[in-house]
Symmetry: C2
């Protein structure tokens, strides 16, 4: 429901909040950035401030790029192909208008939800290919409720393995020189028992791994997620455990060291 | 990738485009609105214009409300519970800040993706409940690729029937006085063979039905989607077939008449 305050006052509140969000994100980029390879802004946390929130999101992406970090836009988007194209424009592409192109967020990669199937995924992979960007499809998420659908048997295997097959089918389209693909997978650290099998099914995909820290996942359980000899095959995401730490730089460095000690 | 044009110029282009989008949407609200009960803005089409796009989205929602229409925010959001809460704030709730609350979009309902499971869905239902709003969970989408995952057998029934069960489980939480629930389902008109079974599984949910018109679905096939004696149990969405019609008012009226002739 809308508040009854005059619109100008509301805009002012949203603008102050958006500036505060940007400043906090920028502080974290400066403190934790040196121990990181990427930032993963959670789009919902910006969208709830409306237009001003999207301004802040854009500024955070620029600050991260200035700091030499990759930007993974975490919105878990997914829609029918014609709309998936528009999400691609918003996150990694641009939009033609009669007055010239409007650039999107300029993210280096984005998270996506595969439920709509292969044609919807293909539209997102196309968008990533055009922008030399990547995407991470949800395969096994980190929340407790994930098991309800993602672990159920679909035919003779768990549903998340079917999602992994979709990732593996698309992976060759964004194969990089290193052999790793720009079509990655979101695989939660909270269910490490699936990691080994999922790595078998998706040998060339980068795993974006949330759920470490506040959600209870442990870096030392992530060894089976690593593709042999490829330390870049996992990207471990932590939000609250770094953002809310007394010393975000130390928290990020501690996680970096723990992940690198896995080898790969 | 970002364009090399100076930032001020880019903002100007995005602003012109956003104003044009708002004006076109407003024109459609005025022309087609009298034959409709709701508008369903596709969030991707606004997000691709960045902050200015969210300004336009907000204005379109206000224009629709002024015209007496409901607003269904179509973003197919879904995330782990802590983030699902933020999507709820963005679309139907508000966000507390040290300077006061920032209102969200003020939508009456939103579309959501159930892949993350029951805890994620519960967070979205909570958000809808707090705002006296509704939500529509994806059950069987309208794109050709939907069959790939949604029609596969999960145990002894198609996966989309499992999604329908999730909807039915949550429906009592948003039961309205009419008996219809604010927990609805997205069921594409392009697969009418599933409608009857899905209505059995979700007797009290409103079906949001895309896929009529440009995607090939036919209103006359939708009879089995109607709950007996409840004409409000289906909400048929058309975008391109109205928005791109020479006479949007006539196209909307024609669809309205076809849907109402189904009875219910």
């Amino acid at each position: 429901m809308r508040e009854s305050a005059p619109e100008g006052d509301q805009r002012d509140v949203a603008e102050r909040a958006a500036v505060a969000v940007y400043e906090e994100c920028n502080r974290l980029v400066e403190l934790a950035g040196p121990a990181c390879v990427a930032v993963k802004p959670q789009l919902a946390c910006f969208e709830r401030l409306g237009a001003q929130g999207w301004w802040a999101l854009d500024e955070v992406a620029r600050a991260a790029h200035r700091a030499g970090l990759l930007v993974v836009a975490d919105g878990k988007r997914g829609d029918v192909p014609v709309t998936a194209v528009a999400y691609g424009q918003a996150l990694v592409g641009e939009t033609d208008t009669p007055w010239g192109p409007v650039p999107g967020l300029g993210a280096d990669a984005f998270t996506a939800n595969p439920l709509l199937g292969d044609d919807a995924i293909e539209a997102l992979v196309d968008a990533a290919a055009r922008a030399s960007a990547g995407l991470f499809l949800l395969v096994r998420t980190s929340n407790p409720g994930a098991a309800r659908l993602q672990d159920q048997p679909l035919g003779d295997r768990p549903f998340h393995e079917e999602l992994a097959s979709l990732v593996a089918e698309s992976a060759p389209r964004l194969a990089g020189e290193s052999g790793l693909s720009g079509v990655g997978a979101v695989v939660g650290a909270t269910a490490p028992q699936h990691m080994g099998r999922l790595r078998e099914l998706m040998p060339d995909s980068v795993f974006l791994i949330p759920g470490v820290g506040a959600q209870g996942g442990k870096p030392e359980d992530l060894g089976p997620a690593l593709a042999e000899g490829r330390p870049a095959s996992i990207l471990v995401a932590a939000s609250r455990s770094i953002g809310r730490a007394d010393d975000p730089a130390a928290a990020a460095e501690e996680l970096r060291a723990a992940v690198w000690s896995l080898g790969g």
